[in-house]
């Protein structure tokens, strides 16, 4: 229970998850230390998204254990809302609230959930807009922003909760190629500031650049993992080699 920074901030042990008769995760284990940036790559349908959705309890699990700061995520007694205050998530489809402006999107959760003072939150939200390089778009509605801009608002919205860990679920997959870069720069800045990040991504160049560790999943298991320096040049498993040869 008493978690210290010498232990992994996220610790997953032998995680199993099925949707009906389809077993999506077949025994996943991974440890992420505070400040680490971890990229999860792998073919479509290999369970990458399911894996990170289990970390903030958007999906329940069948067996195994996930601990965030030493706290078991799938303990029935766990207050999911407390967990989710610590774990931010950004989605492929941005999922901004269309009836609120960009600034209101960012302010909503800290004001309504954390009950923080709206004036302080407002100031922080404006700073976050600057941080994701969207100064001047505060009063735009999501429908008036490009995909890349919406995604950066979504990142800012998540950051406004001051999470300990950020989860990114294929955040550039739905974007136009020319807007991908802005989003990746935002995430890179975040990683360099010491935020613990878990990214599911298809951007190999980006993964190589920012990740401390790369996990390759295929058919529900982790086939291979390692730091990018050795992972990309020195893959050992034939499945990893085949996947890398297809996309690099």
């Amino acid at each position: 229970m008493n978690w210290t920074e010498t232990e992994p901030i996220i610790s997953i042990k032998d995680l199993h998850k099925s949707f009906g008769s389809l077993e999506v995760l077949k025994g996943i284990s991974m440890d992420v230390m505070k400040g680490e940036v971890v990229c999860v790559i792998g073919p479509s349908g290999s369970g990458k998204s399911t894996l990170i959705r289990c970390i903030n309890a958007l999906n329940d699990i069948n067996s195994g254990s996930i601990k965030v700061e030493g706290q078991e995520v799938h303990d029935p007694k766990l207050n999911k809302l407390e967990l989710r205050k610590k774990v931010g998530m950004v989605f492929q489809q941005y999922n901004l609230f269309p009836h609120r402006t960009a600034l209101q999107n960012i302010m909503m959760a800290p004001v309504k959930v954390l009950k923080q003072n709206p004036e302080d939150v407002r100031e922080r939200a404006i700073n976050l807009m600057t941080r994701v390089n969207l100064t001047g778009k505060e009063d735009s509605y999501p429908g008036e922003l490009s995909g890349g801009q919406q995604q950066r608002v979504a990142i800012a919205r998540s950051l406004a909760m001051n999470p300990r860990v950020m989860l990114f679920d294929e955040v550039t997959a739905a974007l136009d190629p020319e807007t991908v870069k802005d989003v990746l720069i935002t995430i890179k800045d975040l990683a360099e500031d010491g935020m613990t990040c878990i990214l599911v991504t298809h951007e190999m160049g980006f993964a190589r650049e920012v990740a401390d560790c790369i996990y390759f999943t295929d058919r529900g298991i982790i086939v291979e993992y390692g730091p990018p320096s050795t992972f990309f040049s020195d893959a050992k498993d034939p499945r990893t080699k085949e996947f890398l040869s297809q996309i690099l």
Partner: protein, 297 residues
């Protein structure tokens, strides 16, 4: 055997591939929600004056001995203020009260349809389907007969007027249909909105009230107005319960004018016209709002 038919050559197209079949209009979901309004709006506006004029002229052809066109029209105009003020306005009052009660109950029932507590959910779904699929007249009669005509508190006897039973009876199908409108609108919001809000640590109640419902509100207005128009058109059913609304009063007026058959068409076409004049603008507005609020994400 059907596969030997060639589309376009034989009268009936037959193929295993649905995309090759001729497109058949089945009505879209949007029209399904405001179907009555689209139907009403599809009438050309001049149909009313024309129909009314024809109805006025009609008695000319049936000049009965001693009672003619002039007399029938005179009788109508004599009764017209009474029919409008005591009759039609009462229909409107019934429709407004019914809509008020039906909407409040319907919103609650609609929310109950999506609650995670399964027993409440099942009960709400059952009630919704039961009242949505029952004939309105049957519901009215059940309410009329099931409710007491008076009840006693201590020594006081409070009588229940028929019109309040009519309001209650009509509220049931309105409640059920509004319940479906609410459920449909909530479920039309993409699940990504729920997930995004949940991942920001909003509780389920907060997600519903602060994220989901504000997005559905506009979408619910056109079908809600559509149901109001349907309800208003249905208020003459209350005359079968003896409620003194437009149709009941028209019949009484005709009777007091010695039941001349020449009176039937002018009196009832007046009722027809006044309902149309009331509901047609509502239907037009409904269709306009429906177009304006069409889901854009």
């Amino acid at each position: 055997m059907g596969s030997r038919l060639i589309p376009g050559v034989h009268s009936r197209a037959s193929t295993d591939l649905p995309v090759l079949l001729p497109y058949r209009y089945r009505g879209t979901d949007e029209n399904g929600l405001v179907g009555f309004s689209s139907w009403l709006v599809s009438a050309t506006p001049w149909i009313v004056p024309v129909a009314f004029a024809l109805c006025l002229i009609w008695p000319l052809t049936a000049l009965a001995a001693g009672y003619g066109y002039d007399d029938a029209i005179k009788a109508l105009f004599k009764w017209l203020p009474f029919l409008f003020l005591s009759g039609f306005l009462f229909n409107i009052l019934i429709s407004v009260l019914t809509m008020l009660i039906g909407t409040m109950a319907g919103v609650l029932l609609g929310l109950a349809q999506i609650t995670p507590v399964w027993i409440i959910q099942v009960a709400a779904k059952f009630a919704t389907q039961l009242f949505r699929n029952s004939p309105w007249l049957v519901l009215l009669f059940i309410v009329l007969l099931a409710l007491p005509f008076e009840f006693t508190i201590g020594s006081m006897i409070i009588s229940v007027p028929d019109w309040s039973k009519a309001v209650f009876g009509l509220s049931l199908p309105i409640m059920a249909n509004i319940s479906e409108v609410v459920r449909g609108a909530i479920q039309s919001v993409p699940t990504g909105q729920w997930e995004a809000a949940e991942s920001l640590a909003f509780s389920r109640r907060q997600v519903l009230w602060q994220i989901i419902l504000p997005q559905c509100f506009k979408r619910m207005i056109p079908p809600w107005m559509n149901w109001y128009a349907i309800l208003t058109m249905a208020t003459p059913l209350c005359s079968l319960l003896g409620v003194e609304e437009l149709i009941t009063l028209s019949r009484q007026a005709i009777e007091s004018e010695n039941n001349h058959p020449e009176l039937l068409v002018p009196f009832y076409s007046f009722a027809l016209m006044i309902f149309f004049l009331y509901c047609y603008p509502i239907a037009r507005l409904t269709i306009q709002l429906e177009k304006r609020y069409a889901v854009k994400l």
